[in-house]
Amino acid sequence: MARYITRRVLWSIAMLGIVSAVVFAIFYVLPSADPATLRAGRSATPAQIEIIRESLCLDDPMPVQFVDYMKGIFTPLETCSGKGPLDFGNSIFQNNEPVLDIILDRLPATFLLVTGAVILWIAIAIPVGIISAVRQRSLLDRTTMITSLVFISAPVFWLGLVALYLFAQDVGLIPIFPGIGSYNTSDNLLARAGSLLLPWFVLAAATAAIYARYIRSQMLDVMTEDYIRTARAKGLSERTVVLRHGFRSAVTPVITLLGLDVGTLLAGNAILTETVFNIPGVGSEVAGAIGSSDLPLIQGIVLFGAFFIVIFNLIVDVLYAYLDPRVRYE
């Protein structure tokens, strides 16, 4: 077990390095235009471009730039443009503010949004998935599977707008939930959670539907296994057979999916929900940064997001070894 975890951790660290290098290549090596001009915006003067060139040390040879960049991310050392660790540079359009500060400022909103949505979609998907598998082809099974198809097909931005139109306190027909931008005016955690009720449902809807279908198909598979027959032959109650023997096996691959989904959502994949509901999270920040071509900010968020995904992958791997004893002895 210890060896397995050590190996996973080392591999994840290597992964972080590789991801950082790829991001460097995307932002500094691959663009055919001068990186300083790209960062300066559309109506920059030659003097401004020169300032950016200097602040990013773009006159250094490429390998030196790369070493500086990696030092800025991974070590607490001085670099040409600043001091690490996690120095992603400064934003160009937000008063030269450090990118890291902007991200850390936006992260709590995203974190709250994602956490609530995850709890919600798991709470919906697990019972729906199990029951529709156990009662396969029943009315309940067919109803939930068709409903889930509807939610999977509905785009998040559309669903968000419909939800607002129906339920938001400012514009809704049945004004029972806080509306657009209410997160920004909430001053405590409870009020913020309240303002996120609608976004939670919107973000969770499609995912809950996908998870319910996935859990259902996993359960259908597992329930034909020989060890389920053994469990029944022991005289266990059907409830125990389904939950302790069936679901226990079916949930393992779901954990993998969950880890990746949470990672990508924290990395800014909640962009549509955040934009529709005007939630000041990482996703809406990246939308703004793309709009204004704030390259250092985009680069910082991409790197940060990639880190989240790598870290959640690691968590999944470790969890997997805990859940499936066979993995530990690979």
Binding site: Y227, A231, A233, G235, R248, T252, P325
Partner: protein, 346 residues
């Protein structure tokens, strides 16, 4: 025949029929199987894959119950009919009075739980023991089935055991509540030959120690010869011959049984070639009318278009399902080299 109830059969199956509705049609998996087992005796059920022997076994414990399954007949155990029992009541019998082990020990244990936990679970469903007591019992069972170093192995996962050891764990689990009947569905098929012999020896020892009735399902006549007292030969959902092991091997009545015996390879006799049964078993959706074995039987004649009854011919306790007369059978089953087999009459 016996007047005292204690000497009577512990499990009695009467006219069991199991049909599964499928998209392709109704599958008559078991078409009127009747048999009984007594304490301390072993009943072997033999036949090719798909002949209904596993379905028969699983139906005893209600494991074939499903929305698309129709089950009829009587399954009498301790005075009650298991076929009519509610799932709730049947659970008390499963793993309690009647327990079962399966073909593939690699997949029959839950891969995520330690062996000890799975044993403790089986014990606690039927006995009011706390965890420590159940664990002590589990250790005792692992010792009983001959797992060395049981106090250490009880905390291991199934994948850390070899195939033979896993089957021993399955047997320990099946014995945990001292069942009156043990149903073993191809218990040695997935194991290599030396392990097979060990598992069979273990089953025989446990049977004589615990006095259980054993129902052994197998496609292997060698296994039957070794451990069974009585034998049931099944073909395409029907019992075609039933008798003691000696009757079956030395005086087989049904042409299908001749075919099975003729295709046995023997190490003690050098034969020119093994006789074989030509053709394939019929589909259970559209089995031929009359005798199911008719299309593959070289001795078929007009009468075979109607279903022969399972009736005693050679002896009172030796029944078979064939229209041929006793004399004809004794004549036809003898091959040129003196062995028994199924071949075109000369």
């Amino acid at each position: 025949m016996s007047a005292t109830s204690s000497a009577g059969p512990v499990l009695e199956v009467d006219e069991m029929r199991v049909t599964f509705a499928t998209d392709a049609g109704a599958v008559k998996a078991v078409d009127g199987a009747s048999f009984q087992v007594e304490r301390g005796r072993t009943l072997g059920i033999v036949g090719e894959s798909g002949c209904g022997k596993s379905v028969t076994a699983m139906t005893i414990l209600g494991l074939t119950r499903a929305p698309n399954a129709t089950i009829s007949g009587r399954i009498t155990y301790e005075g009650s009919d298991l076929a009519q029992m509610s799932d709730e009541d049947l659970r008390a019998v499963r793993g309690g009075g009647i327990s079962m082990i399966f073909q593939d020990p690699l997949t029959s244990l839950h891969p995520f739980y330690k062996v000890g936990r799975q044993l403790v679970e089986a014990i606690q469903v039927h006995q009011p023991l706390d965890h420590d007591q159940a664990r002590a019992r589990a250790l005792e069972l692992l010792g009983l089935v001959g797992i060395p170093d049981a106090h250490r192995r009880i905390d291991e996962y199934p994948h850390e055991f070899s195939g033979g050891m896993r089957q021993r764990v399955m047997i320990a689990m099946a014995l945990s509540n001292e069942p009156a009947v043990l149903i073993a569905d191809e218990p040695t098929t997935a194991l290599d030959v030396t392990t097979q012999a060990q598992i069979l020896a273990l089953l025989e020892r446990l049977q004589s120690e615990l006095g259980m009735a054993v129902v052994l399902i197998t496609h292997d006549l060698g296994v039957v010869a070794e451990v069974a007292d009585d034998v049931l030969v099944m073909y395409a959902g029907r019992v075609v011959e039933a008798g003691t092991v000696d009757q079956l091997f030395y005086d087989p009545q049904h042409p299908y049984t001749w075919g099975l015996l003729g295709s046995l390879a023997r190490v003690d006799k050098r034969t020119q070639r093994l006789s074989q049964i030509s053709g394939q078993p019929p589909s259970l959706i559209s089995a031929p009318e009359g005798c199911h074995f008719r299309p593959r039987c070289p001795h078929e004649f007009g009468k075979c278009k109607s279903v022969p009854p399972l009736a005693p011919t050679a002896a009172d306790d030796h029944r078979d399902r064939c229209w041929l007369s006793l004399e004809r059978k004794r004549d036809l089953r003898q091959l040129a080299d003196g062995r028994i087999g199924l071949e075109e009459p000369k």
